[in-house]
């Protein structure tokens, strides 16, 4: 047996739970969208809960330490470079 007050509390808790779940879903969607546009290193740092502020240290992305030269076409490399460029932000 559950009394009326108890039922009311349970309903309130269920409502709050649903609200919180909706909030989590919304935040999660926003986070996913944000990570999709972030450079890889920033996205990984965000996932790790590290500092990702605009005034953090400069980190190289897509860097492969090598002394080998890779033959490449200018147009293809420049198009790739523009895609990888960190987005401009108001600092």
């Amino acid at each position: 047996m559950v009394d009326a007050a108890g039922e009311s509390d349970a309903a309130e808790l269920r409502r709050e739970t649903e609200e919180l779940r909706a909030l989590v879903r919304e935040l999660s969607a926003k986070l996913t969208a944000l990570m999709a546009v972030l450079p890889l290193d920033a996205a990984l740092a965000l996932a790790r809960g590290e500092e990702t502020g605009a005034d953090g240290p400069f980190r190289l992305t897509d860097w492969r330490e090598t002394i080998e030269l890779t033959r490449a076409d200018v147009a293809a490399e420049m198009e790739l470079l523009w895609k990888r460029l960190p987005p401009r932000e108001s600092a």
Partner: protein, 616 residues
């Protein structure tokens, strides 16, 4: 004055789908008020004759059978409107741009001695196929200039060439009156080069009009019949050799032995390739020989294939054991390998003096060449007593010019470009820090830094991160150890708005000159060999805070000095260029004009020839 009428002669033999496409694109892109279109059906057995008769704006001449390329086109020339110029067009050509006939006609009538005008031809996959032709007397195998290079709009100006392919050939009436038609010594192949050489004998030039680009499907009438092709080609080649061997050999006024480096990604090798091409064009029969290898400071053997027809021929020529004149173009410590009776050493260095061994070797030369007064003075101060001449290098204005197609920032950001080898001399650290501190991440400005590092112990990425750059500062993008084909490099420069060369010293700085030839305003250290061609009317000279000991890995620098570029001035200039874009662009335009007017490889080769003439 009314432009002269032109008859466009299109030779057809079967393959109606090609002819149809040719005519459709011609109709779509051509103002025919000053032109007639004449199709010569060379005895087609498919639907071609019937289809041609249905097109009211095309006049048709019918040959009873396939007379071949030469006689077929001659039939068209004879049937053309009297007094008109002739434009021969293959039926596997597609027209890509309006105004093409007018441009060809303007090029033909720009001077009385122009007789033949060709154009750029591209393949359907976007590669260049033709920007003129040449043929060497060593092999008698015609070569198409620019063939199979990625098309970045190279060879965009109108320039003299030895020949053109007659897939598109504008022939002026005055020349046709002097020569009549194509030589019937040939059925197909070599008739075009033959015609251009005959024109030259009559005092007419052949030019390639770079403002016109047509698509060539290159589906020759013999491309499906390799045996027929081979038979026709070899027969024509033998005929051509018989007729022109003496003439082609006579194009060389002198012989020269050139000992250097060709097939490595170094500045000497890159410039060597250009010098050899330019000397050939100036009538010097060069025999090239690799000067490095075992027993030298660079003991690596050189690959035989230069990836370039002319350079391969030049490399295979045998020079005498003791040639009359030999130039060693490389570091001063290989001058001793000069095998000429008259010995010339041609070198450069990035600091204010030359090592004692180089000076000793140089003093054993009959003459020493350096590209700059900077190096001449440094050599003399180091004890050079042999005669020394300033012989500047040059730039290829067909691959480095303002109309090369780049890939600019899609966001419209202002782009600085630095292209450098990682190390002490080029001051990449300073460029990165100054840029990062001068601008903010929110600014519409980017630095693209192309870095080459082949030194194994150096961890470039770690060194960049150790610079303490800020992610809130100016945005930087890297191209790390990317080796771009040389013919595409203009596209890299044209993807930027300003070039930065802030090194401590230069022996010449070819990338800087290439960027300036592409019309980029440049910020360049005001010290070193490149001050030969950089000044403040066409660039932004970067101040130095003085001279420093040249501490670096290169052993040749020991005991000498280089300069200390001023980072505060670099910051000021970068900011200034961004804030005064019109002024900067104007400097870039002037730079390109000055490079084209005074600093091409042809200028460099002419100076070499003049000096060889003086030596006797």
């Amino acid at each position: 004055m009314t432009p002269r009428r032109v008859t466009i002669v299109i030779l057809c033999w079967n393959r109606w789908e090609l002819t149809k496409r040719c005519l459709e694109t011609l109709k779509a892109h051509t103002d025919l008020t000053g032109a007639d279109v004449l199709a010569v059906d060379n005895g087609s057995t498919d639907e071609t004759p019937a289809r041609l008769r249905e097109i009211a704006w095309v006049r048709v001449v019918t040959n009873p059978s396939n007379l071949g390329f030469v006689r077929g086109n001659n039939a068209g020339i004879r049937a053309a409107a009297p007094g008109s110029d002739i434009l021969l067009l293959n039926n596997d050509i597609e027209i890509l741009q309006p105004g093409w006939v007018d441009r060809l006609r303007e090029a033909a009538h720009a001077a009385v001695d122009v007789g033949i005008v060709g154009c750029r031809l591209v393949l359907p996959d976007g590669r260049l196929l033709h920007a003129g032709t040449f043929i060497l007397p060593d092999t008698f195998w015609g070569q198409q200039i620019g063939a199979l290079e990625t098309d970045v709009n190279q060879y965009a100006r109108t320039r003299d060439v030895e020949g053109i392919v007659f897939a598109c050939a504008y022939l002026k009436r005055e020349l046709l009156d002097a020569l009549e038609g194509l030589s019937q010594d040939y059925v197909s192949y070599f008739e075009d080069t033959d015609f251009c050489l005959r024109a030259k004998e009559k005092g007419f030039r052949t030019v390639c009009c770079g403002a016109v680009t047509l698509l060539h499907r290159e589906h020759g009438s013999t491309s499906d019949a390799p045996r027929l092709f081979d038979a026709l080609f070899q027969k024509s080649r033998a005929t051509f050799r018989r007729k022109w061997a003496r003439t082609l050999q006579a194009r060389y006024a002198r012989d020269l032995s050139w000992q250097s480096i060709l097939n490595f990604p170094t500045g000497y090798a890159t410039s060597c390739r250009e010098i050899l091409r330019a000397l050939d064009a100036e009538g010097v029969r060069v025999a090239y020989e690799y000067v490095y290898g075992p027993g030298t400071p660079f003991p690596v053997r050189e690959e035989e294939n230069a990836g370039d027809y002319l350079l391969n021929v030049v490399s295979k020529r045998k020079s005498e054991r003791r040639p009359r004149v030999s130039v060693v173009y490389g570091q001063g410590d290989v001058f001793s390998r000069n095998k000429g009776r008259t010995r010339i050493g041609y070198t450069m260095l990035e600091v204010d003096g030359f090592p004692a061994e180089w000076v000793k070797n140089a003093n054993a030369m009959d003459e020493v060449w350096v590209p700059s007064a900077f190096n001449r003075d440094g050599f003399v101060a180091s004890g050079l007593t042999a005669p020394v001449r300033v012989m500047p290098l040059g730039v290829d204005i067909d691959h480095f010019h303002p109309a090369i197609k780049g890939v600019p920032s899609p966001q419209g950001d202002f782009v600085f470009l630095a292209s450098l080898e990682w190390g002490e001399r080029k001051r990449a650290d300073m460029i990165l820090k100054v840029f990062n501190q001068t601008f903010r991440r929110g600014d519409r400005v980017v630095l693209v830094c192309k870095i080459i590092n082949v030194n194994k112990p150096t961890r470039v990425g770690g060194q960049i991160e150790a610079l303490g750059l800020s992610s809130a500062g100016g945005r930087i993008a890297f191209l790390h150890n990317k080796e771009f084909p040389y013919h595409q490099l203009g596209a890299l420069y044209r993807s930027a708005d300003c070039y930065v060369s802030a090194g401590r010293g230069e022996g010449w700085d070819m990338p800087l000159m290439e960027a300036m030839a592409c019309g980029l305003p440049a910020i360049a250290t005001d010290w070193g060999a490149h001050t030969e061609f950089v000044h403040d009317a066409i660039a932004y000279p970067l101040s130095s805070r003085g001279l420093l000991p040249a501490d670096a890995r290169a052993p040749y620098y020991k005991g000498f000095r280089w300069c200390d570029p001023d980072p505060e001035h670099l910051a000021y200039l970068m900011r200034h260029v961004v804030e005064h874009r019109d002024e900067a662009a104007e400097k870039g335009r002037r730079a390109a004009a000055e490079m084209a007017a005074n600093w091409t490889w042809n200028h460099a080769a002419k100076r070499i020839v003049a000096r060889l003439d003086a030596i006797g």
